[in-house]
């Protein structure tokens, strides 16, 4: 334990706060001013609206899947329709929601502000990235309208190349384009973080939010091209029959899975690292205390990004890969679990000796920590070779990745949206209603996915349209939970929309947070800061903040 000193933080009186006359939202008017904008904040808002739309489309598919699984017989939809439902649920949620969720919205909005820059390095590429996303989304919706696709989000060959007559190519094109959107975002972040930090903003003064996004950006830039190559090969195989994945032509059907998981495992970290980024900020702010072991948390992000590239084969332990290569990949998988454990404990100990309040973002962050711990530890089950034989391809794995992606990432996303809502819009969300939503989400989530762990050990395979009678009780519980979860997700849309007009005016820094983004007006000016700030203190320096506010008070008085 080193330097221990007390900090008192007084929350500002919001009744005196007023909406700033000039900000990025009212700087320009008209639809075109949004569609042709180069402002990272406006692009972030565009992204926020579009990913919310796709989240609810994907969510509707999930609802239909759970409704079908209410009874053991396949009686609500046909097998083909069911297969299309889970495929489109997966494709939309992974490529159009989870991958861009935090980075393209919250990250886009905040990274320049957090490092004291006026915008991202390449504003036009940032806008292009959103247009590519929209193009991908439109193509995906077209594929759905024309009849959908039923390959599963994993596009496994030879099923996807030789055996299905659905819109595989159209969907592959959409995912291919969405990949470039993701590469552009990552590239923009990397360059911005390297080149555009304000005076005094050294690497180790950056908020941990920026560190985690940096790690995720590296994964986006290095991993996504492999996905693009893989999809091109699938397309060539489908159209020209080049035979790379076809054993009758000397190809290897397993090669596809190696290539696919070489992207899609790091993609998991592309999704979760930005979530972790949000949690670091939220936990620190509502404990009024700097993040415990800043350096360890920063480097654990980088470690996750590095190790994340060398564990892909753990998706293929039962596929007839060499037993000895399976050993290596299992060991590496165990190693990648450690940085996540470090992060969880560091966040827990950030609370110790803090002065904690329990606003909505903090509740979501607590939810994240609990659910992500379960999600992470059940990942160890699957990384443990022998155990994986029983659990892989069952509902256990479905539950595991939903704990990480929905229990972890979506909780973090909602924490972030609530936390920075005052900064983005200048208005507060309604506190008690949003706390209710956080609790409902948590309960609904557990009810939905806990029974699936039990189903998984029982051996219920994933992607089953109909299932044996004895699995029904657990499936009914899961469907009931999904209903609660649905309510939990609808609530924020309603009250956040309401707050745009009727929410209390937030003021510059309603949470008394230390980040540079909070030291400017809400919503910010188009150029973020009236003048480029100078970073003369460490990240999460609550004493600096206290002196600053005192100084301001004496100044005005």
């Amino acid at each position: 334990m080193s330097a221990a000193s007390p900090t008192i933080v007084k929350l500002p009186d919001q009744s005196t706060a007023t909406m700033p006359k000039k900000n990025f939202i009212n700087a320009e008017h008209g639809l075109l001013s949004w569609l042709l904008t180069g402002d990272h904040k406006r692009i972030a808002i565009l992204y926020l609206i579009s990913i919310t739309v796709f989240f609810f489309i994907g969510g509707a598919f999930a609802g239909l899947i759970r409704l079908e699984l209410l009874t053991p017989q396949g009686d609500l939809v046909s097998s083909d329709t069911y297969n299309k439902l889970f495929t489109m649920h997966g494709v939309i949620m992974v490529f159009l929601f989870l991958v861009p969720s935090v980075p393209a919205t919250i990250g886009n909005f905040l990274i320049p502000m957090m490092i004291g820059a006026r915008d991202l390095a390449f504003p036009k590429i940032n806008l292009l990235s959103w247009y590519l996303y929209i193009a991908a989304g439109t193509i995906m919706l077209t594929a759905m309208a024309l009849g959908g696709v039923d390959t599963g989000w994993t596009f496994t060959t030879p099923l996807s190349t030789h055996y299905l007559n659905t819109h595989v190519l159209t969907t592959a094109v959409a995912v291919f384009i969405a990949g470039f959107s993701s590469i552009f975002t990552g590239l923009n972040f990397i360059v911005t973080i390297h080149r555009m930090r304000c005076p005094g903003m050294t690497w180790f003064r950056m908020p941990l939010f920026v560190w985690a996004h940096y790690a995720a950006s590296i994964l986006m830039v290095l991993g996504t091209p492999v996905l693009a190559i893989t999809l091109v090969l699938v397309g060539m195989e489908r159209v020209f029959g080049i035979g790379v994945f076809d054993p009758t032509k000397g190809g290897d059907p397993l090669l596809f899975q190696h290539l696919f998981w070489f992207y899609s495992h790091p993609a998991v970290y592309i999704m979760i690292l930005p979530g972790m980024a949000v949690i670091s900020e939220v936990v620190s702010t509502f404990s009024r205390k700097r993040v415990f072991g800043y350096t360890a948390v920063a480097f654990s992000s980088v470690a996750i990004a590095l190790f994340g590239f060398f564990v892909w084969e753990h998706h293929m332990f039962i596929m007839g890969v060499s037993n000895y290569s399976a050993l290596v990949f299992s060991l590496l998988t165990m190693l990648v679990a450690v940085p996540s454990a470090i992060k969880i404990f560091n966040w827990c100990f950030t609370l110790q000796q803090g002065s904690i309040t329990f606003e909505t973002p903090m509740l979501y962050a607590f939810g994240f920590m609990g659910l992500f711990t379960i999600g992470g530890l059940t990942g160890v089950f699957l990384g443990s070779l022998g155990m994986d034989i029983q659990l892989t391809e069952t509902y256990f794995i479905v539950a595991h990745f939903h704990f990480v992606m929905v229990g972890g990432m979506l909780m973090a996303f909602l924490a972030g949206v609530h936390f920075w809502w005052p900064k983005m819009t200048g208005r507060m969300y309604p506190e008690s209603l949003s706390k209710l939503a956080a609790v409902v989400t948590f309960i609904g989530f557990n009810l939905t996915f806990m029974p699936q762990f039990i189903l998984g050990y029982l051996g219920m395979p994933r992607r089953y349209h109909a299932y044996p009678q004895e699995f029904q009780v657990l499936n009914v519980l899961s469907t009931a939970g999904a209903t609660v979860l649905g309510v939990g997700y609808l609530l924020p849309v309603l009250y956040l929309a309401w707050s745009l007009k009727y929410g209390a005016i937030a003021g510059d820094n309603p949470w008394q947070a230390t980040g540079l983004e909070w030291q400017t007006q809400s919503p910010p000016l188009t150029e973020n800061f009236p003048e480029i700030p100078i970073m003369d203190h460490e990240a999460y320096d609550y004493e600096w903040l206290e002196h600053k506010t005192q100084h301001e008070v004496t100044h005005v008085g």
Partner: protein, 347 residues
């Protein structure tokens, strides 16, 4: 307000019929369950620890009782603790899991072999004695059984949850898994790899019988021809015997006793002849030319079904001498000789 007795009875029956834990019906199942409970307890302790930390800190350091936060940089000692302890636990999971994996995927030498062919959307089981089953499998207790599996079309995955085994069934490549059943009864077979429209209908029942019942079953359900006998017929009808006759002047190598031997190939490499090698050599002969022979064998890709290949492999496995090959050859050549002599007009 009471619950209707009909509804109550329905609920009781429904809950009783529902499963919470899979039955243990193979020798491997108790080992798998031991690891499962170990992992569950690690998870339980881990989650409990996080929950306790969150609750205790939230209560003790909430703003009402602790209005002044004390800034702490971190603690190398604490951080080292929560790096090393999880790492140690994860390494135990790694070693334990690896031991189990090698046990499940390395069959004992005395195991009985059954072939499984997966196709959209059914499982075909072929017993060496010639019993054929669809979406069903009969096995005896107390005998290690190896499944040699292949897919005719897409990826499938053969899973018996009550035995705690599962293995991907791959197009164009044999994969194996083994088990030894302990408890007679009927258990689920699932396809766990998504394989198209009727994926969820690609299920079957494995019936575990006592050795005596199994013997009875094999006698009652044989088709009259063993796989090897089918293979012998194919060997002759595809004309394999013309070259692989075992004669000194034959254009192809003798195949008697080749299974299990080490073979020197034309390209200088040495290979162990197993099921996979035989299958590949039939489909793709130019890549598998025995040293001293010329690559004249045509490919049989697309001409023999996976079932036929299994018959051939099973035949070659049991082929110890070329006597019968040559007999068949002489018979078939004399058969052909007769019509050609009288029916073909020579120029």
């Amino acid at each position: 307000m009471g619950i209707s007795p009909v509804l109550w009875q329905f609920l009781v029956k429904w809950l009783n019929a529902s499963a919470l834990f899979p039955s243990e019906a193979s020798t491997i199942a108790p080992y798998m369950d031991a690891l499962y409970f170990f992992l569950l307890s690690i998870t339980g302790i881990g989650v409990l620890l996080v929950a306790v930390l969150l609750v205790v800190f939230s209560v003790r350091y909430r703003k009402a009782v602790h209005p002044v936060a004390t800034q702490i940089e971190g603690s190398t000692l604490l951080e080292a603790t929560w790096t090393i302890i999880p790492l140690g636990l994860f390494l135990i999971c790694f070693v334990w899991g690896a031991l189990l994996y090698f046990r499940i995927y390395n069959p004992p030498v005395n195991s009985m072999n059954i072939y499984i062919v997966g196709k959209q959307w059914m499982w075909k089981a072929e017993h060496p004695g010639g019993q054929h089953e669809i979406n069903a499998l009969h096995v005896p207790t107390g005998q290690p059984i190896q499944l040699t599996m292949i897919s005719q079309d897409v990826f499938h995955s053969f899973s018996i949850p009550a035995f705690r085994i599962k293995r991907e069934v791959i197009p164009g490549r044999y994969s194996t898994v083994w088990f030894q059943a302990t408890t007679p009864g009927e258990y689920h077979i699932f396809c766990t790899q998504y394989c198209g429209t009727n994926h969820s209908a690609m299920i079957g029942t494995i019936t575990v019988l006592s050795p005596a019942d199994y013997k009875k079953w094999t006698e009652e359900s044989t088709s009259g021809m063993s796989l090897a006998q089918n293979g012998e017929r194919l060997f002759a009808s595809m004309g394999c015997n013309a070259c692989h006759s075992g004669n000194a002047a034959a254009r192809g190598p003798s195949l008697a006793g080749v299974y299990g031997s080490k073979l020197l190939l034309n390209n200088g490499s040495q290979v162990l002849v197993n099921d996979a090698y035989l299958r590949d050599a039939i489909l793709n002969p130019s890549q598998h030319v025995t040293s001293g022979y010329t690559p004249i064998m045509p490919t049989y890709q697309g001409q023999i079904s996976e079932d036929g290949l299994i018959d051939l492999v099973e035949y070659l496995k049991n082929l110890s001498s070329n006597d019968r090959v040559q007999q068949t050859l002489t018979t078939s050549q004399s058969d052909q000789a007769a019509p050609s002599a009288s029916g073909v007009v020579k120029p």
